[in-house]
């Protein structure tokens, strides 16, 4: 072998060294080199010459995307800092994040980093969920843009995105996200993260939308949410020498999610109102058929007013959830697409129709302006229907693939059951107030007809709720899905006491108290309005507290899908 022909790589090959990322003897794979052409307008750009951004303009049916080379990334975090400097974000908001995974056994250990920003998906779930149309998939570039002015800070997109990309900026009270520095790309300059990478591990590429939709397997990586959820466009080059089993470095970070106090009250109270109204309206209808429900007739107007008051309370609670309460009205905008818009729409309808129904009742009962009963019943039916639709829409909001613990039929079931546990008990309570106002002393036995019906409905719902809870526990403990597994850990360890109390309150409010009331009544055969009041209040309050605690656990124990984090960073921000 003459000296000229000698190559150290040949020698290394003869030792069978697993040369890193070498595609051939000529050398390392050079990113983006194939894209160099002379016809593009961006060829003059130094960043395009280096292969950081495409040299050619996008053709019809193409969009920009990130390419991330996991075998090149050394986890230096340059991209993260450069991104925050580019966008003036506070340290709590990082549009680009670097995660770490490792596998193998020493000394054949492999550790890899994942630097991820927005994946500018083909089916962006942030966009489809947004109630205000604050998102836009740019027709020209494919970039998923967020319009700050349109955002009301509801943070629904942060629940929808399986990658934890949109992040709430507490300084602005709105959500913000990566826009691929599309203006820079247009100027022939690489995005901040791409330009900052010392390893050329991040690039901007072009992708044919149709082809990618057909096959997007290259968007997947260990511990990344599966690309099919939103058809992520980021192409990830995986190292060839990756062990089969890789561990997340942040596997110990199982943090409870934000409890969303205002949402706890909003959901529980709207469900109470919707469930209560359905019961009330059924009472209105059935009292015409069943004699034992007759006493309900004169109570209807009180019940309806009580429920309206609760609805008002619930809806005002919901406004406090928003980053920008004064822009709440915008939430109605996207009712064709977003379940959040629909929820707002249905509950708005519910309260308006409910008010009309109450007015009709009032006018017939008090002011002697008789309205045909059929119209009133029809109205009531509409109210009940919008209430049920509202609960359904609420549940749909939470049933997102990015949050497996919520994305189950148990969620709507639990929401409806909350309505049917609390609704009747609330009616019972209002009813006992109403009885108190009439006269002290014993309650007429006839009154007990509706009361016992309510208790029967509430207890049955409570029983089913208990079954649902145990079912959740059963499924969680069997779980292979990592998010559900972590969720189970949160529920049974971190929030063990909360969970036990929640079950205790459910049993107390749904079974022990109603039954003891029944026994008391059977034993004494009469009851005073004061006693009835006491029973009604206690069972209602205990059940209400039980459901609120249950909803608290619903929020805090959900574990969102996300990209893997580093040892110190939980995958995403807290939502």
């Amino acid at each position: 072998m003459s000296d000229k022909e000698f190559s150290l790589i040949d020698l290394a090959d003869s030792f069978h060294l697993p040369l890193k990322n070498r595609v051939n003897k000529e050398g390392y794979y050079k990113p983006g080199s194939s894209e160099h052409t002379t016809c593009g307008v961006l060829t003059a750009s130094p960043d395009a010459k280096e292969g950081l951004i495409p040299a050619e303009l996008l053709k019809e049916g193409e969009q920009y995307r990130f390419h991330f080379d996991m075998s090149r990334c050394v986890g230096c975090q340059c991209c993260v800092v450069a991104c925050n400097e580019q966008n003036n974000n506070p340290s709590s908001v990082t549009w680009r994040r670097v995660g770490e995974i490792e596998g193998g056994v020493y000394p054949n250990t492999k550790r890899f980093h994942l630097s991820m920003a927005c994946n500018h998906c083909l089916d962006p779930s942030c966009l489809t969920g947004c109630p205000t149309d604050a998102y836009e998939k740019d027709e020209k570039t494919g970039v998923v843009k967020h319009k700050a002015e349109e955002c009301i800070g509801c943070q629904y997109c942060t629940w929808n995105c399986p990658y934890g990309v949109p992040q709430f900026n507490p300084e602005r009270n709105i959500v913000t996200k990566c826009d691929m520095c599309y203006v820079r790309i247009g100027d022939g300059m690489a995005p901040a993260c791409v330009a900052a990478c010392p390893e050329t591990a991040i690039q901007i590429e072009k992708v044919s939308v149709a082809e990618w939709r057909e096959n997007h397997a290259e968007a997947n990586a260990p511990h990344m949410p599966e690309s099919k959820i939103t058809v992520s466009t980021t192409r990830i080059t995986l190292p060839e020498d990756m062990p089969e089993e890789m561990l997340r470095l942040n596997r110990h970070q199982i943090q409870p999610e934000h409890p969303h106090i205002s949402l706890i009250f909003m959901t529980v109270l709207t469900q109470l109102a919707a469930g209560g109204f359905l019961i009330l309206w059924l009472g209105d209808v059935l009292s015409r058929v069943f004699h034992f429900l007759k006493p309900l007739q004169e109570f209807l107007v009180f019940g309806a007013c009580g429920i309206l008051a609760v609805t008002g309370l619930a809806l005002s609670a919901s406004i406090f959830h928003l980053g920008r309460p004064l822009h709440a009205y915008k939430a109605l905008r996207m009712w064709r697409r977003s379940w959040l818009s629909r929820e707002v729409l249905f509950f708005t309808l519910f309260s308006l129709l409910g008010a009309a129904y109450a007015a009709l009742l009032l006018s017939s009962n008090t002011f002697r302006f008789p309205v045909p009963e059929a119209i009133r019943l029809l109205f009531g039916g509409l109210v009940a229907l919008s209430g049920m639709a509202g609960i359904h829409a609420s549940a749909k909001i939470y049933m997102v693939p990015a949050r497996p613990a919520w994305n189950t039929p148990r969620t709507p079931l639990r929401f409806f059951l909350t309505g049917f546990i609390l609704g009747p008990l609330f009616s019972f309570t209002v009813y006992s107030f109403y009885e108190m106002t009439k006269a002290s002393g014993n309650v007429a036995p006839a009154v007990l007809g509706p009361v016992l019906s309510w208790l029967a409905i509430s207890s049955s719902a409570g029983f089913v709720q208990l079954l649902v809870l145990f079912a959740r526990l059963f499924y969680l403990s069997e779980e292979k899905n990592p998010e559900l597994y972590d969720s189970a850990i949160l529920l049974t360890r971190r929030f063990k006491n909360h969970f036990l109390i929640r079950i205790g309150l459910l049993i107390l409010g749904s079974f022990i108290l109603p039954l003891s009331y029944l026994f008391y009544f059977v034993a004494h055969s009469t009851t005073t309005s004061g006693q009835m009041m006491f029973f009604a209040m206690t069972s209602f309050m205990i059940s209400l507290f039980g459901e609120i605690l249950g909803r608290y656990l619903f929020f805090v124990t959900v574990v969102a899908k996300n990209m893997p984090g580093s040892f110190f960073t939980q995958s995403g921000g807290r939502h």
């Binding site: 040369l19 250990t109 009270n173 110990h252």
Partner: protein, 762 residues
């Protein structure tokens, strides 16, 4: 104001104010579309003030405040790239813990005083101590964070002004072993190679160097080299090891065995450069005889590597046309640091791979201006790499300065660790610490705390207060930091770059240069040591004269030339002296290598080959302390976090110290990923530090980064130092680990990868 804030907060609550202005974008002429708030009034060209890679960058100044930084695309070192610390460097200037006023401790409490008082107090107290206990009763510890002009000025002030003997830099904690090693092998300090070698080498061999974490921009240079083979020797599977084609997971402190083994194989295989050895080295026969016993089998046993791994490494090195060896603290932080450097130089010398394009034994330095302080200071050598013991060097200096020859010291003063020991022995009563934070960075903290307690007077001159060391000071002098002062930094590859002032210092903080001048005035030595000096440029002009004709020749450099070219490597002569190296007169953008002609700085011009034994570290694990502690760094933080600890994003990415432990050890101790543990050595303990169970570290070893004062790895480290360089042995200490507190959450299942489980069952 309160009303206005209240109104604002209501507005924000209601969502009427989404901070549109703060989050607007605009076009910057130089760097394109970016956050409008970060677009400055002017970009000030400068050089990064963190590590020794020496990246060129710009500070964006807007209305007197630093608002952003960007890499300089035209700088020869980094071509626009910066590491995460550099990318957030402007926050270090505006950090909330900046020292603003001179503070004097009275009755245990700091009181603000004016500068006149502070200078009078310091000079008075030091002179009193010197009068009582002799001139050697004062020690000065400075740092490679100062610009060359300041370090040169300080050297003159300390040695010629105060007459202080014991003057050293914290560079002794960092790369002193490289200095001693180069001196022993080549006759002088000065790394022969260039970063360009990373791009031109066909083999890059890194020993104890985790450049991905510590010098990320060198990875950028390395990645430009498409055809290199990278070998990394490191007991940990570092991020750098993951970049390697061949990772050598050798046992801690067995690198000398590996190097001797490689020499053994190369001699056997006749892959040495006999001609070069004969012409340019001394001591080959002794070396040859010595490495006889380092057979591949013996080396395999000593290093824990396979015979094949040792052989492959040696053969790749031997066959390579341009093999480059880089090392950092894995080599230097050792009681055998200097000798390991000699072993590395042996390997390079017998193959003739010194100062060739792509091939050199190259010490990758630590601090931004460690090199500048090595050349210009009065620490390990006299300014300009002159030798204390050489009368002609002393005479030359005295003549250049126009001082009496007797004023030039004839021997180096105490090294940093020996100054500390001097305090403990009561020989040193006053200490002046400049821009360094030993209460985090010095090994065996208990010992150091005890030492500082014994001082009569401690002056801490720093840009930051309170920091652990300034809190125990008697006098705090607030200094300007990077971005607030002018001068030059010299990086690992001898590239001199300009550092510029972008903004004014906060409060009454003054540049170190101005402080030194004030002290000289108080001492009444201004005319003698700083004739006519007003600004750093005056010091630079004098330094050019002092360095003229020396190996580190700055005489051809000017501030204007540096600004124009971003950075220029020394030697760069003014043409008056030809010297042995032709590289002195060349275009400024060309790289200069040392010893390309095979002529070294020894008396006979030949390099020395040393016979080096592989000795065990000062402390090895035993029954009571069964784990070997290794210390190091992380990419997000710089040294003792006085700067990066104040930068919210870097702190978020790496908020606290951690311990890395192998799953097999963790399982034995019943510890889980994310647990908090207590680590204890014979010298001290860390009470609470989070556990990272990882296969990146071998069983029996643990790793803790040293940056964190709150969980200080240096509570555990040993006091032993290298006999030649006096550099401490940070990398090995025996410790034990136990559970510290029960964590809130842990995952009981899936703790160990299945592969490990299988391994355990074997």
């Amino acid at each position: 104001m309160i009303e206005k804030n209240f109104f604002k907060s209501i507005q924000r609550r209601l969502g009427l104010d989404i901070q549109t202005g703060k989050y607007a974008y605009d076009m910057d002429e130089q760097f394109g579309y970016m956050s409008k708030a970060k677009i400055p009034d002017r970009w000030v060209m400068t050089t990064c003030g963190y590590c020794s890679v020496g990246c060129g960058m710009f500070i964006g100044e807007k209305k007197g405040k630093p608002v952003s930084v960007r890499g300089n695309p035209n700088h020869p070192v980094n071509q626009g790239r910066l590491c995460p610390k550099g990318l957030a460097e402007h926050y270090a200037i505006t950090a909330p813990n900046r020292a603003k006023y001179p503070l004097l401790k009275m009755k245990g409490k700091f009181r603000r005083i004016d500068w006149n008082w502070a200078i009078r107090e310091m000079v008075g107290r030091f002179q009193t101590i010197q009068n009582q206990h002799g001139p050697e009763a004062i020690g000065v510890i400075s740092t490679g964070q100062l610009v060359t002009e300041e370090f040169y000025t300080l050297g003159k002030l300390a040695r010629l002004g105060f007459g202080i003997k014991n003057f050293d830099g914290n560079t002794t904690l960092c790369m002193a072993s490289a200095v001693s090693g180069y001196k022993r092998s080549f006759g002088s300090d000065g790394p022969p190679g260039s970063y360009e070698d990373l791009e031109k080498a066909d083999l890059v061999f890194l020993i104890g160097a985790n450049i991905a974490d510590n010098h990320p921009i060198l990875c950028y240079r390395l990645e430009k080299n498409q055809k290199r083979i990278l070998i990394v020797a490191d007991p940990r599977v570092t991020k750098t090891a993951m970049m390697a084609d061949l990772h050598l997971p050798l046992k801690s402190r067995s690198d000398i065995a590996l190097l001797n083994g490689m020499i053994h194989i190369l001699i056997k295989e006749n892959k040495i450069d006999k001609d070069y050895i004969q012409k340019h080295t001394n001591g080959f026969e002794e070396l040859k005889k010595h490495v006889e016993k380092f057979t591949p089998e013996k080396v395999s046993e000593m290093t824990g590597l396979s015979v094949d791994q040792v052989r492959h490494t040696a053969l790749l090195y031997g066959h390579a046309k341009a093999p480059f060896i880089g090392w950092t603290m894995g080599v230097n932080h050792s009681t055998q640091g200097t000798e390991t450097v000699n072993a590395i130089c042996n390997l390079a010398l017998i193959t003739g791979n010194v100062g060739k394009v792509g091939a050199s034994p190259f010490s990758i330095t630590g601090q931004c201006n460690a090199m500048g302080t090595r050349e210009s200071g009065f620490t390990a050598s006299l300014p300009g790499y002159r030798k204390y013991e050489d009368p002609s060097h002393r005479k030359e200096l005295a003549m250049l300065w126009g001082v009496k020859e007797e004023m030039i010291p004839t021997a180096r003063g105490l090294a940093y660790p020996d100054i500390i020991e001097g305090v403990v022995r009561g020989k040193i009563k006053g200490l002046w610490i400049i821009a360094t934070n030993p209460l985090v960075s010095f090994p065996n903290q208990k010992y150091l705390l005890d030492c500082l307690d014994r001082l009569d007077f401690l002056v801490v001159q720093d840009g930051y207060h309170p920091i652990p060391t300034s809190q125990v000071a008697d006098l705090v002098l607030p200094a300007a930091v990077w971005g607030e002062k002018e001068g030059t930094f010299t990086n690992s590859e001898r590239t001199v770059s300009k550092v510029n002032k972008a903004v004014d210092s906060p409060g009454e903080a003054k540049s170190d240069f101005d402080i030194f001048l004030m002290l000289a005035k108080e001492l009444g030595v201004t005319d003698q040591i700083y004739p006519g000096w007003k600004e750093p440029k005056d010091a630079f002009e004098e330094w050019k004269k002092i360095s003229r004709g020396r190996l580190c020749d700055y005489s051809g450099l000017t501030y204007e030339l540096l600004e124009k070219h971003g950075g220029i490597q020394w030697p760069f002569g003014d043409g008056s002296i030809g010297g042995s190296s032709t590289n002195r007169s060349r275009p400024p953008e060309e790289n200069a290598r040392l010893y390309a002609d095979g002529v070294f700085q020894t008396e006979d011009g030949r390099a020395k080959l040393w016979v080096i034994e592989n000795n065990p570290p000062p402390e090895s694990p035993d029954e009571d302390y069964p784990y070997l502690l290794n210390t190091g760094r992380t990419v997000e933080h710089w040294h003792t976090r006085t700067k990066t600890g104040q930068i919210p994003l870097l702190n978020r990415l790496s908020p606290e110290a951690w311990v890395e432990m192998n799953p097999r050890d963790a399982k034995q101790l019943k510890l889980y990923h994310g647990d908090y543990v207590r680590v204890e050595s014979r010298r001290g303990s860390i009470e609470r530090v989070v556990l990272r169970v990882t296969e990146t570290i071998p069983p029996g070893q643990i790793f803790i980064p040293f940056h964190y004062a709150e969980a200080n790895a240096n509570n555990l480290t040993v006091s032993d130092c290298d006999p030649f360089s006096r550099e401490p042995n940070y990398k090995q200490a025996a410790v034990r680990v136990e559970r510290s507190a029960v964590p809130l959450l842990k995952r009981p299942k899936k703790e160990w990868p299945a592969a490990t489980e299988a391994e355990l069952r074997k």
